[in-house]
């Protein structure tokens, strides 16, 4: 059954790639059908729990094609299918042919290519083929990202993406070749007993981590997510970085890991969660804010995964399974709400032409749908009940609290992780209160903001669908447990068993009751207010009669207080011109948070490497006589070496 759905999914997506440039409607149909088939294939894997495997005689690059879809990869495939389909619909409204005649056809082709290559990454079970699919995935991401190459910022972001992506691929090359050398073949599969493979985990963590974008390997992520067209940002943030998570989950499940792996992963996760959201809070560009928030959410996923690794290490503790289920559920949740938020950001960008939050304001009046859906996404991303973000965070919390209760060494990793998780939750609340409030509430700060327009049905439809997914995942989490249990069993067979944790069912009812009560109380209060007579008047500004839009809090002033506490890592750049004299010309205060890791660490290090290389390059000057001298000196040195060896 799985194969019967997977084959048409691949064929349909290939056809979408072929027809994409010329026939947009046909392309949309093929992409949606292909995504639907892939989703169906993923869903067939969950109930059986056994997974699906197909070994053919067909050779590709000297290796037989071996495909496999089990619980772990099906989780990611379902996500890729949903976001791939939603984004295809959204792109029709956001990046239409009449607005972008040159790039829209290209965008369609690469979109389908990206979804197709991700499906291949998730199914191939051969190291060589994995690398091929991985490269196709990275390249199609690059071409989607640079759809609009006239802008220098886009080209720079694309270049950075390509460079970091390949730096990661180098690690993966090393990982797969060393793995092949140790196992004697490129075929991949569970090798849980072969302890000699354990150190390879670090290579996989670095290579896949580059794509996953945890702190401090996130350097490519903010500029790529901010400069890409919004539907591309959505699939990059919602799905593409999850491919990195998939790699880490996959190979930590199939291969043995070093004892320190759990500690390192949970530590990296905590670091990413806290610093990612601190950076997000300090951003003025709303797409960069969303990008940094992705760093935070990858951190939360890694905290769950790290706890799972620790749990597996310490005698298959049940709490590891809870944390793993929470991490995988968070993969879905983050995919759903971050795609929704990026679509909302795209609608705002489409309507106003700016990504600068402090140039917006008051958009709810012109864009009520986008404002409402963005608010819903904000509640979900802040991890608040009754939406889905809370469910996965609760599962991870439960795993960590049980680890603390176990009173083993792993408790010392779990306790800081719990505190970090709570703090990053509160910071996420601040960041999204800021984003929603500065963009959508208050008065319009500029003319374009006042003249914004609501997005069309092609863009609103996918947003509504994703909001529905957020709601369903929050209100009926117990429906997902079979999928999570099957994934946990595929990751670690000792954790097989369909028993659902008791809080999940209760939580669904609590969330349902909460949602119903909220709706009832809200409508009751609204009716009461209408009955009591509602009057409009200017905002009370301490008695000031004519408040202006410029008096409102801006993005920078909103973040100022909490971002100040993280000044030691954010390193904001301040420009200050004070008011001087009796008739001051004008005063100015600018504050910008740079890409601190990139600008303060990577660029200086790169500059140093370039300096050394330039110095070494003086050796190569084109004078033949000196080259002959090098050869003679080299031969002499070799001779000395041989002579020394021959001595007793």
């Amino acid at each position: 059954m799985t194969g019967l759905l997977l084959l048409p999914a691949v064929i349909l997506l290939v056809m979408a790639v072929v027809v994409g440039a010329r026939w947009p409607r046909l392309w949309l149909g093929f992409t949606l059908a292909g995504a639907g088939a892939a989703l169906g294939a993923a869903l067939t894997v969950f109930p059986s729990g056994g997974g699906w495997e197909w070994q053919s005689k067909f050779l590709l690059g000297g290796e037989t094609v071996h495909l496999r879809l089990d619980g772990v990869s099906a989780v990611f495939m379902a996500l890729a299918a949903v976001v791939g389909g939603a984004g295809a619909v959204y792109a029709r409204g956001y990046w239409p042919d009449h607005g972008h005649p040159a790039t829209a056809p290209r965008g369609r082709v690469w979109w389908s290519a990206l979804v197709l290559s991700m499906l291949l990454v998730l199914t191939v079970s051969n190291g060589l083929h994995f690398l091929m699919a991985w490269e196709a995935f990275a390249i199609s991401g690059y071409f989607l990202l640079t759809l609009d190459p006239r802008k220098p910022a886009v080209r720079a972001a694309g270049w950075l993406y390509l460079a970091t992506s390949h730096a990661g691929t180098v690690c993966l090359f090393a990982f797969f070749t060393l793995l092949a050398a140790r196992t004697g073949g490129w075929d991949l599969g569970p090798l849980r007993a072969d302890a000699s493979c354990a150190p390879l985990f670090w290579l996989a963590l670095a290579g896949f981590g580059m794509k996953a974008g945890f702190f401090p390997l996130h350097i490519w992520l903010p500029s790529a997510h901010a400069n890409a067209p919004s539907h591309v940002s959505a699939i990059m943030s919602g799905v593409a970085i999850k491919m990195g998570v998939y790699g880490i989950v996959r190979f930590s499940g199939w291969l043995p890991v070093p004892p320190a792996a759990g500690w390192v992963v949970i530590g990296l996760g905590a670091l990413s969660a806290l610093l990612g959201i601190a950076f997000a809070l300090a951003q003025n560009d709303f797409k960069r804010l969303l990008a940094y928030c992705s760093v935070e959410n990858i951190g939360i996923i890694l905290i769950g995964l790290g706890a799972a690794l620790l749990g597996r290490e310490h005698g298959d503790a049940g709490w590891g399974r809870l944390a793993l289920a929470g991490a995988l559920l968070h993969v879905w949740n983050h995919g759903a709400f971050k795609t929704l938020l990026f679509f909302g950001a795209g609608s705002v960008l489409h309507a106003t032409g700016t990504r600068e939050m402090s140039r917006l304001g008051g958009l709810w009046r012109r864009m009520p749908w986008t404002a409402g859906l963005f608010a819903l996404g904000s509640v979900a991303v802040a991890g608040l009940p009754p939406l889905n973000g809370f469910v996965s965070e609760l599962l991870i919390y439960l795993g960590l609290f049980d680890a603390v209760a176990g009173r083993q060494a792993s408790a010392w990793a779990a306790m800081p992780a719990v505190i970090v998780l709570a703090m990053s939750g509160a910071l996420a609340l601040a960041a999204f209160a800021k984003a929603g409030a500065i963009i959508f509430l208050g008065a319009a700060r500029t003319k374009p903001a006042a003249a914004a327009h609501e997005c069309d049905g092609w863009m609103r439809g996918p947003m509504l669908a994703l909001a529905g997914i957020c709601l369903v995942l929050g209100l009926a989490p117990v429906l997902l447990w079979p999928a999570l249990a099957s994934a946990a069993a595929a990751w670690h067979p000792a954790w097989a068993g369909a028993m659902s944790p008791e809080p999940l069912a209760t939580l669904g009812w609590v969330n349902l009751g909460l949602a119903a009560t909220l709706a009832a109380a809200g409508s009751w209060l609204w009716r009461k207010v209408r009955a009591n007579n509602l009057r409009r008047a200017p905002t009370w500004d301490c008695g000031y009669g004519v408040p202006s839009a410029k008096m409102q809090y801006t993005s920078g002033s909103f973040a100022g207080l909490a971002a100040g506490w993280f000044g030691w890592v954010l390193r904001p750049v301040r420009t200050l011109r004070r008011v001087r004299g009796h008739f001051p010309a004008h005063a100015l205060r600018l504050e910008r948070v740079p890409e601190t890791v990139l600008e303060r660490v990577v660029f200086p290090a790169g500059g140093y490497v370039m300096e050394v290389s330039t110095a070494v390059r003086r050796l190569q000057h084109g004078r033949l006589s000196a080259y002959i001298l090098y050869v003679v000196a080299g031969l002499a040195a070799l001779g000395v070496l041989v002579f020394m060896e021959s001595l007793p």
Partner: protein, 302 residues
């Protein structure tokens, strides 16, 4: 039938008794200052009057402005219903309900912040920024407190985790939670609920533009939040699970009264801190809860 009765009794406790607390605090303050002060039931009168009044809404605000106070109120009531009430026990208890309580409080905060920003007022912006930023540190202290209670009791459900151990841990926890109580409810020394200057407020600045029934919901919600923190503090520190139901109820009521009087005394004797010192005090609360956690950890396996 019994569960329905239980539900009604519990709702009554939270809904009807909560507005007493601000009245008691004001009475204590008046008593220390040698004034007569407003009646203890003043908030009930205010709520009744506000409920009948018409509403003035900013021209900038969306309908969400009057609906969100209901969200905050429901979130706070939901959090309160999860908390066991002495002999009554918890209304709904499951593993992880302590975390749900924390996140419901956060939901209330989000709704209040969103409604405040609706008006586009700089004062409301100021209050919102302070509220959501200080909450980061308060949240850290709260989760450390929950961790230490969980380590102490080996449970993650409020019904069974509020089994205090007498000793250093309880003292540290009481101090930490009391500071968090003052911060989360915007009392002196973090915020002055009675000041007339919007510049120096946190919570009051956020609700400047509200009026009529939504303001009533906000004020009632705030009093429930105060009661919630007081009940949490008392049950985390005073051992009452082995007492007779009546004695336990009396102890709980006495404890809550004691906490309320203490809040009033703090307000009478201390001035509001400068805002730059607020993070320090909250960090101190976090450290107190963290030390309580370490003490609980050393305390041995329950």
């Amino acid at each position: 039938m019994k569960s329905l009765l239980d539900l009604i009794l519990r709702l009554d406790c939270w809904l009807l008794l909560a507005p007493l607390l601000p009245g008691i605090i004001n009475k204590v303050k008046a008593w220390v200052a040698g004034r007569r002060g407003p009646p203890v039931l003043q908030l009930y009168y205010d709520l009744a009057r506000l409920w009948k009044k018409s509403v003035v809404m900013s021209t900038l605000a969306s309908p969400a402005f009057v609906i969100l106070p209901a969200v905050t109120w429901v979130a706070l009531l939901g959090a309160a219903m999860l908390l066991p009430l002495g002999p009554l026990g918890a209304g709904l208890s499951f593993r992880g309900d302590a975390l749900l309580m924390l996140y419901l409080l956060a939901l209330g905060r989000f709704a209040t912040a969103w409604a405040a920003m609706e008006t586009g007022s700089a004062f409301e912006g100021m209050g919102t920024v302070r509220e959501v930023s200080y909450a980061v540190l308060a949240e850290a202290a709260m989760i450390a407190a929950v961790l230490s209670l969980s380590v102490q009791s080996g449970s993650l459900s409020l019904a069974t985790m509020l089994t205090p151990s007498l000793g250093a841990s309880a003292v540290l926890l009481a101090a930490g939670l009391f500071i968090v109580l003052l911060a989360e409810n915007c009392r002196v020394p973090f915020d002055d609920p009675n000041t007339h200057l919007e510049l120096t407020m946190i919570h009051e600045a956020m609700v400047l533009d509200h009026s009529g029934p939504p303001l009533a919901a906000i004020l009632h919600g705030a009093s429930m939040k105060l009661l919630l923190f007081a009940v949490l503090l008392v049950q985390a520190v005073l051992p009452m699970q082995h007492l007779q139901p009546l004695a336990a109820a009396g102890l709980l009521a006495g404890g809550v009264l004691g906490v309320t009087v203490a809040v009033g005394l703090v307000e009478s004797l201390l001035a509001r801190f400068a805002f730059r010192r607020v993070p320090l005090l909250l960090t101190a609360a976090f450290l107190l809860c963290l030390f309580a956690l370490l003490v609980a950890w050393k305390g041995g396996v329950p």
